[in-house]
Amino acid sequence: MALIRLSSPHVSKANSTANVMRLVLIATLPGILAMTFFFGWGTLIQIALACSLALAFEAAALKLRKRPLGFFLSDGSALVTAILLAVAIPPFSAWWVTATGIFFAIVIAKHLYGGLGNNPFNPAMVAYALLLVSFPVEMTRWTSPMTQHGGGWEIAGFIDTLQAIFGSVDAVFYDSFTGATPLDVLKHRGGLTTEELWRQSDVLSSGVGAWYAVSAAWFMGGIFLLSRKIFTWHAPLSMLIALFLTASAFYGFDPDNYVNPVVHLSVGATMLGAFFIATDPVTSATSNKGKMVFGALLGVLIYVIRTWGNYPDAVAFAVLLMNLCAPFIDQYTQPRSFGHTRANRGMKGKNQ
């Protein structure tokens, strides 16, 4: 009788990493749909492009690292990275922008650091930051939401969008379909108070609704993941609260020069960041307490960079900075273990 010997436990929950990734993919659906609805085909095309490129780069990297292809490709982590990057870049950016970003995310930020689970930085955010500093024009030419055009449903056609991404189109095309984002407008205010700005700017008065809707869609996806216990509430909640509180403090102090905290929560990548980026388990802090610290610092950093930094949105930079801090946070936020009166802090070194 060929019996076998191995360590307990001998049963396990039917659960897999691929399953986790699949749920995350499902949770991005509302956001993707909302973006497609408001910004046109561009988002979908970018996602398709990014996903196929990501799988190709992942396969190539695995091949070079002599790892089994099927086993690792099927975990779905490359697709999650691809989608997160695709929804972060402007829908009309050229294909090579996306390709560069995906290459950087998968090959450099992920596989060069040892593949899934070993990357210190969130690959999508690394790629986004790289694109933002390398191609500032392409990366800030965001599509104007359809609500801005007044006359109902008016987005760029599918063929036009394909041409914009893979070929070249007239400048007129960009003029008619792209514009500043609310955060751009709020950043480059030219001496106007927030209130004046809000009244004057077309982007803010009529366009911001679309942004609210997109944020709401991301929020829904996040709640879905939370209900499926894919992550805990600690990081997103503490990030949103921190951002809200910081913004409120400044807004309450000087409403003319600072932006309403509700706007901070609902424009830009705040919701996407809170539920899909800050909760990335690989690159964030480990313990519940650590996640709260991580989230809170992230929220403050987002506000600081948005308000005084050079770039309009700040989620990518803030996340990268916090990724850097995560191991350090881990060392000082170990939970108190059962039967201990207090937690062990810091790392046990040679001299202790």
């Binding site: 009788m1 019996l3 076998i4 010997r5 191995l6 360590s7 307990s8 436990p9 001998h10 049963v11 396990s12 929950k13 659960n15 897999s16 990493t17 399953n19 986790v20 086993f71 975990d75 982590s77 593949g115 899934l116 689970g117 070993n118 216990k229 894919i230 992550f231 805990t232 388990p281 690989v282 480990t286 313990s287 519940n288 881990d330 170990q334 939970p335 108190r336 273990s337 059962f338 039967g339 201990h340 009166t341 062990n344 790392m347 046990k348």
Partner: protein, 774 residues
């Protein structure tokens, strides 16, 4: 009162308990042979009291505890002890340990036994001793000797006695069925334990998935005057863990590294209480227990009252195993049980369950994926650890950090591995890290101990040298004084030759030593020069030769002077011996150097060879001088003192023979390792020479031995010596045999065979002589 608290984490695996509770507790068939391991509990193994061939009765003590934390072991049935040896035991390692194997005679005849009439009248000490003698150990899983826990009220204040009836692991129903059918035994046991520990209240912790057991317990609890509460806790794994159950029932956490008694709590398993009851009221030792036999591969899962030592196969057959469906055999539950590879492994005191699982039921774990730090393990961990951090540390062998993250608070419950989406065998990583750390600690302890002993020895040797030196000085002073006195009393008398000779010899010795040192220095300088190919080789060589001749002269003078002054004295003999040994060492060194030089192809080979030859000559000279000196007192000595010198002589010879043998061996091995043809030839001649010398030495030795034997025959027999000689001869024979087996060359083999036969003949002869005298 019975408020239920909660603990962090935990999981809800499918219970699979119903299937084995449909049938009542059955009785396992009596197997033909029972294998009873000596270690079924935590602590030291028991010491067997029976030998092969002994007849034992059921319940007879067959092994006694040898330390405080240990348990007695009794024969589970009547029969004959057929073996006391290592057999596979139920342990994760699959290794074997000492077991007593009993062949059952089928009668199952009890030894005379009886319960205590009224345990309340007994001194507590005696009652605990009675329980210890019945070999009772915790039946929940760890197997901690129960009597040790019952002593706890002596140095701890025990407020609460907790009876662990949670049975949180899936599949297992042994405790459930026990409570359903024998609730009065459980209660009786609780009363005895409460009598010993005197807690202010007793809590029975039980999971809410055992309503029948709860009813049965409630029914019997009506008649007791003890303050007992049944606390029903929600079903969550691992609520049956000792520390987790205490947290559930009292909201207290047992501090890390302490025992529950430190916070006034003692925990006992329900099975243990029933065993205590049977031991006290009927005098029955722990020789059987209830085992759940379940799993998809058995057709009739149920609980069986099983004798300790029953092989698993007997139980599986009793429950109709489908062998073709069996894929994994697990002893214990699916979460913490160990897999066994062999169905002949016996049931022990802690075996609560046996799962015969099919491949669908407990599939092989798929390959582990990368850890994505999802933190699900952390949410499930009942010890509030950071399992994923521990995993990274264990994987990276950063054991210090793992320890700092409280690795040793891990109870290995398996909740983390159960929820892990990447299928990482987390528990095995922790076990691996723990055993590595433990081994490291053991090694460190051993190293520290060895260091202490080494240092103590060093200190002792130094002290001895110092003492010797002090004694020598004192002697010299005394001698000087005596001499002065002598000189004073007979100032004009000529100095005694012996007294004069001593300083003379000493002076000579010093001169020789100085010369030797100089020679060594010169040699060294020369060697260095040869190594670096310096220009002044010739000069150095001249200096070397000069120094050598001087040293030789000094040594000759010494050799001449020493025997002249104190001929035949033991001291001198010793000196000569030392000289011979020194010469030998030098020779060896020179040989080494030569070999080295030859290997490297240096220029100085010829010179070195020449040196070697002179050294060889010198060594032989020294040896001869020594032998002469050694032989001298032997031959002319008168009959009464005959034995002793002869012994000395033979010892020296023996030594010589063994030295020759070593040399020969070395030369032969060098020959084996050599590749160059010319060198082989040269070495062969050398080997032959050595062989001749070896034979010579052996012959001499034989002769001397013969003489000794004759002498022994004449003047009383030195039996001991003879015996030793015989042993030596035997050793020579075995050695010859060994080298024969190693030899690959035919010539060599025949030669060795010849030698071997001669050695055998000698050994036989010696044995014969020995037998004559004995």
């Amino acid at each position: 009162m019975s408020k239920v608290f909660s603990f962090h984490g935990g999981i809800h695996p499918p219970g699979n308990k119903k299937r084995s509770t449909r049938a009542a507790i059955g009785k396992a068939p009596l197997p033909k042979t029972l294998v009873v391991p000596m270690q079924q509990h935590i602590g030291g193994p028991a010491d067997p009291l029976v030998k092969i061939g002994d007849q034992v009765l059921k319940g007879q003590l067959i092994a006694e505890p040898i330390s405080r934390i240990s348990a007695a072991i009794h024969a589970p049935t009547s029969g004959k002890v057929v073996d006391v040896a290592a057999y596979p035991i139920p342990h994760a390692s699959g290794l074997s340990e000492e077991c007593i194997v009993i062949e059952s005679d089928g009668e199952d005849r009890w030894i005379e036994h009886q319960g205590l009439d009224d345990y309340r009248q007994l001194r507590r000490q005696d009652l605990i001793e009675h329980i210890r003698n019945c070999g009772i150990a915790g039946m929940g899983g760890a197997g901690f000797p129960t009597d040790v826990k019952l002593h706890l009220s002596e140095d701890h204040i025990v407020n609460t006695l907790i009876i662990n009836a949670a049975e949180c692991e899936p599949y297992i129903t042994a405790d459930d069925m026990l409570m359903r059918e024998r609730a009065h035994e459980v209660l009786g046991g609780i009363e005895i334990i409460a009598h010993l520990l005197r807690p202010s209240h007793v809590l029975i912790g039980i999971e809410d998935n055992k309503p029948n057991a709860i009813h049965a317990l409630e029914a019997v609890l009506k008649d007791t005057e003890l303050n007992i509460d049944i606390v029903v806790v929600p079903t969550k794994y691992p609520s049956g863990g000792e520390r987790q159950l205490i947290k559930l029932l009292t909201d207290l956490e047992v501090p890390s590294g302490r025992i529950p008694a430190d916070i006034g709590i003692v925990c006992q398993n329900v099975g243990t209480t029933a065993a205590v009851y049977r031991a006290v009221h009927y005098g029955e030792p722990l020789i059987s227990r209830i085992v759940t036999v379940t799993g998809d591969a058995v057709l009739h899962p149920r609980n069986l009252e099983t004798l300790i030592g029953t092989p698993f196969s007997t139980l599986l057959e009793a429950c109709d195993l489908r062998p073709e469906a069996l894929s994994k055999l697990v002893m214990g539950g699916p979460m913490m049980g160990v897999t066994v590879e062999n169905d002949q492994i016996p049931v022990i005191k802690t075996t609560n369950c046996l799962i015969a699982a099919t491949a669908q039921e407990m599939p092989l774990a798929p390959p582990a994926q990368a850890c994505i730090r999802c933190g699900m393990c952390e949410q499930a961990c009942p010890a509030e650890l950071l399992p994923q951090q521990l995993y990274w540390f264990a994987k990276g062998r950063e054991f210090d950090k793992a320890k700092h993250h409280n690795l040793f608070d891990c109870i290995e419950c398996g909740a983390c591995a159960y929820v892990c989406p990447s299928n990482i065998p987390l528990v095995q990583y922790y076990r691996y890290a723990k055993s590595e750390i433990r081994t490291e600690q053991r090694d460190q302890q051993k190293a520290d101990h060895a260091r202490q002993r080494f240092e103590a020895r060093q200190a002792r040797l130094e002290r001895e040298v110092a003492e010797k030196e002090a004694r020598r000085k004192a002697r010299a002073e005394e001698a000087a004084k005596a001499q002065q006195q002598k000189a004073a009393t007979q100032s004009d008398a000529s100095p005694q030759p012996a007294a004069a000779a001593e300083p003379d010899a000493k002076q000579l010795k010093t001169a020789a030593a100085v010369a030797r040192t100089k020679l060594k220095k010169a040699q060294k300088a020369y060697d260095e020069a040869v190594g670096t190919n310096a220009d002044n080789l010739a000069e150095l060589e001249a200096a070397l030769n000069d120094a050598r001749s001087k040293a030789e002269a000094a040594e000759k003078a010494l050799a001449a002077g020493a025997p002249a002054t104190e001929e035949g004295s033991g001291d001198d003999l010793k000196q000569l011996k030392v000289a011979a040994a020194v010469a030998r060492t030098k020779l060896k060194k020179a040989q080494d150097a030569l070999k080295n030089a030859e290997d490297k192809g240096l220029d100085g080979v010829d010179k070195l060879r020449a040196t070697l030859v002179t050294l060889e000559n010198k060594a032989e000279e020294a040896q001869q001088a020594y032998e002469q000196a050694a032989n001298k007192p032997a031959s002319p000595s008168p009959a009464p003192t005959e034995e002793k010198p002869a012994e000395v002589d033979i010892k020296a010879l023996k030594q010589q023979v063994s030295i020759m043998r070593t040399k020969l061996k070395k030369a032969e091995s060098a020959l084996d390792g050599c590749e160059d043809e010319a060198e082989i030839a040269r070495m062969k001649t050398e080997v032959n020479e050595l062989k001749q010398r070896f034979e010579q030495a052996t012959a001499e030795f034989d002769k001397a031995e013969q003489a000794l034997i004759e002498r022994a025959a004449k003047s009383g027999i030195d039996l001991k010596q003879l015996r030793i000689d015989a042993a030596m001869a035997r050793a020579a024979v075995t050695k010859g045999e060994r080298s024969l087996s190693k030899a690959d060359n035919d010539d060599e083999r025949s030669q060795i065979e010849q030698e071997l036969t001669s050695a055998r003949a000698k050994a036989d002869e010696l044995n014969l002589t020995l037998s004559q005298y004995e």
